[in-house]
Symmetry: C2
Subunit: 556 residues, 2 copies
């Protein structure tokens, strides 16, 4: 297309004007006690942040540095401690949000206490068409029997209610839920399940195992508006914990559309690095490859999450040798050798990042083999991720040091799982289990996360566990396999810059350096010096994303 | 959340800074012979456009108006004629794009000519894994028999080829396509279809009716990259015809993701008002309701397209009385009364706009009844659309004047269909058929479109037909039912401001007024004065969207 000279000039000038961008305005966040980690992994202190009004850092300032002469906006932080926003390398954004929209009965000590909580939740959530929850335990209540639909009706009678038992093996429903499910005295228990019944044979309100599906199948799918509410809940929760960015592990199309709705209407406050829930979701979301960074670095589809095995608790993790507490069972792979390579290849071919869920030692060995093979065809900076990397044979650990593999681990799983892991694996197999220091020594980059809502998203608990391997009660004294503890700086990096790197976000956020977005939190203690048990108690006072305050503790 | 005074000030100031927006730069498009339609529907002339650098019109200037003193960018248009960009109220963006990526054999006069064209297309499209096309006709070629796979192999032997006959009732494939389909001498013809065979019983390359599916089913689904290429083709085609915005009628999820990929990477040049292909697509795309206008008014999901009946050609249009040329058949509705109202209600409930495809008089009457009923519940500015509104009983025409209904009609269908319509409907039923003036007199707002790729997207042909009701050969002399012609200004408005209004885009584009986006085209004649047969020949020299040139004729 040949243009006369004056037109070429016009088009070129127009382009420059766009590149020139918004009117410049200086923002100064001053009088802070700033803590960050420098490129060598050492602590660096600063006292101010000079920002563009789009939240990009112009300069990180120390006491002697010149401030902008007349900043357009000035925040005097009055000497408070600020650190980079925390980044969670593995959680489930929508699961966290939906979890916040259901009742948690796990702390209730009696039926009456549970009923009161349920009634209160229903009052506070008048718009929710079903009341859902989990965590009840009639043994803990000292009830000596299952609760009934009639009892639940006393708490909520205007809407159906369905509540999962603490172990997930039974559902307690009210009368409207039974009605919605069409369950009557004539309904037979399905294979593998049992409908609890009164003396008259009428279903009494509890459905055991496979019978739960009678109720579950009539619980309506969440509507888009429900999803929007759940996302807002998740964001509120994460920001209140000091998390400014997170990898969403297993983004469905509906999840993605929810993220985009929020982005399109300026309601996306956290930064989400998304990993699609399988290849089909990856392809329809991303199309020809990872999306660009959208909404000023708040959303990107990075790649795909693939499940290679299950979990340790359910003995679905794929082990090289049978479970110590179930000698006939070694778990099993969810994908064949060929399937795994085929799916990874389809993703890598279009430059998607691959994150493989691998918990058992056989799964980890197989994930590593697949990565090794694919690295021959797909070169360059791939950042292959192994999610969980919980049980790794000592001879496989060194393999994490090759091909730039990222071990994405969740410290709190170690404290939650330790007694179970001892039972499932036996003492001889524990070397290489939750072996964070060994993985790091081998050359893997560790990205730390919470796996919320499976565990609390609180990153300071995660950081404390990473440094100690003791739980909230200080157990076991001295830490479980303490040689696998991480240093303070490694744990901190794992929840900030290394979690960003694991999501191809370095240079955008994670370190509070010039050119990155100003994501930071105001906290109540100096985590560069506090003892781990104090780090665990860290309180987040304010959270800022892109130079704007998006959370502030209510009591302040 | 209570903020101390200095923080409130900061947040407020930050908001103002955003509202302040980009650095202001003046763009002047000057020395034009500008033509537009004013609010009273009269012609208005102007000589310059003063724009923001984001393409928003600051002022439309006439000769005496003051220009900005030192514009940052100046385009001297040397007295050329410019008019608002044309808007197509009903077409299929991706269909148009994919059509451009297949061969059209309808103009070929011999087998050899067709083979040469096919070979050339394959050479020019080395990246396409299958060569697809349509429009061949062995009768027109004087061949006296079907062509063969071996003959097609002479044109393309490195990739499979599948070509649809002009009537859509047969597929011609080459040897690689037969191989891909696994078709051999043993393959039996399916019910309702016939595999053409040589004397030896070996399939010869043509598959009639239902047998076509043997080939069709192995043609690969388009990949996201194919879709991106198709969208670029569609945009190129539309911009070259002077179309700067279009309603996409029947947007699938894959289409939408393609539009978003283009938007996310600054490759969306036309403006798309999308109507989802059914309720499920609507819900997953839009979620809680229509999307915001995205990418500086280049994309919005407005609502949903629903099919109430089929087409006249296939006698699928739903008539009140049987077809004149098929006395046992009245066509049929594709949705029951309850289904139509249910789907429309689900859309209207969430403020989506509803566009109902209705061709036959029974379908139009039923669409009107449904709109009348739903208007009681869903009040306000709904802009119910009836797509096509081709055959309307005279007693139903006045009903188009109520509830702000929009009749979305495609003028060129009238000239393409007229002989068929006469045969299908008989003389007594033609009143109310393509009755544009009567619809407008009744008070309906007419939005004009092309239905491309079914017809050419050229809006000047559409405008000329709307004004004359004669085809490109001037037939029939005086026009078909000439009382239903539209005035020049109504036809022009139908392809600009009324098409914008039909898509809730008034105030954003369509009229070249202050505050709207500067979408305009440079054309080679004054369509406010040219005779209709000259309007039909209008040449588009340049196309500008949002104040930026996005098309320029190659010979200039």
């Amino acid at each position: 297309m040949k243009l006369p000279a004056f037109k070429s000039a016009l088009l070129c000038a127009a382009f420059l004007a766009v590149a020139h961008g918004p009117a410049h305005a200086d923002v100064l966040i001053d009088n802070v006690e700033g803590l960050r980690i420098d490129e060598d992994g050492d602590l660096d202190r600063f006292t101010g942040l000079w920002l563009e009004d789009d939240g990009t850092i112009i300069e990180v300032l120390d006491k002697r540095d010149k401030r902008p002469e007349r900043p357009d906006f000035l925040a005097d932080m009055k000497g408070q401690i600020i650190v980079p926003g925390m980044i969670d390398a593995h959680l489930h954004v929508m699961g966290l949000g939906f979890g916040a929209l259901t009742i948690d009965l796990s702390e209730t000590g009696s039926l009456d206490e549970a009923l009161a909580l349920i009634a209160q939740f229903a009052r506070e959530n008048p718009g929710r068409p079903w009341i859902l929850g989990r965590g009840w335990n009639q043994e803990k209540w000292g009830l000596g029997r299952f609760p009934t639909a009639q009892e639940l009706d006393r708490a909520v009678s205007d809407r159906p209610v369905a509540l999962e038992r603490v172990d997930g093996h039974a559902t307690w429903a009210n009368s409207l839920a039974l009605e919605a499910a069409g369950v009557t005295a004539e309904t037979e228990s399905p294979a593998g399940g049992r409908i609890e019944r009164g003396a008259d044979g009428v279903p009494s309100g509890v459905f055991v195992d496979a019978a739960s599906s009678l109720i579950d199948k009539v619980v309506p799918e969440p509507r888009p508006l429900d999803r929007d509410v759940a996302l807002q809940e998740a964001q509120r929760l994460l920001l209140s914990q000091g998390i400014t960015a997170a990898a969403d592990m297993g983004t469905t199309l509906a999840d993605w559309q929810t993220f985009r709705r929020a982005g399109d209407t300026n309601q996306l406050r956290i930064r989400i690095m998304a990993y699609a829930a399988g290849i089909d979701a990856m392809e329809i979301i991303g199309g020809t490859g990872p999306t660009p960074w959208l909404y000023e670095d708040r959303l990107r589809l990075n790649g795909v999450k693939l499940y290679l095995d299950g979990a340790l608790g359910s003995r679905g993790a794929w082990l090289k040798a049978p479970y110590s507490d179930d000698p006939g069972n070694s778990g099993l792979p969810l994908l064949s050798e060929a399937q795994l390579r085929n799916l990874m290849s389809r993703a890598a071919m279009e430059n998607y990042q691959v994150a493989v869920h691998a918990i058992g030692d056989a799964a980890n060995a197989e994930a590593l083999s697949a990565i090794e093979e694919l690295s021959e065809s797909y070169r360059g900076d791939r950042r292959w991720r192994v999610e969980h990397a919980q049980i790794v044979s000592p001879e496989d650990i060194r393999r994490f040091g090759e091909h730039g593999i990222i071990a994405s681990v969740q410290p709190v799983h170690q404290t939650s799982d330790r007694l179970m892991a001892e039972a499932r694996l036996g003492p001889a197999r524990l070397e290489g289990t939750y072996a964070w220091d060994a993985l790091e020594e081998a050359g893997a980059r560790l990205a730390l996360g919470s796996d919320a809502p499976v565990e609390s998203p609180n990153p300071f608990i995660g950081m404390a566990v990473a440094m100690t391997r003791v739980d909230g009660d200080g157990m076991p004294p001295g830490g479980w396999m303490p040689q696998e503890r991480l240093s303070r700086m490694d744990a901190w990096r794992g929840f900030t810059s290394d979690a960003a790197f694991a999501g191809f976000a370095e240079g955008r956020f994670g370190r509070l350096v010039k050119g990155e977005r100003a994501d930071f939190i105001v906290i109540d203690r100096d985590i560069s010096r506090a003892r781990p048990e104090a780090i665990r108690e860290t309180q987040v006072l304010e959270t800022w994303v892109g130079g704007k305050q998006v959370y502030r503790r209510e009591d302040r």
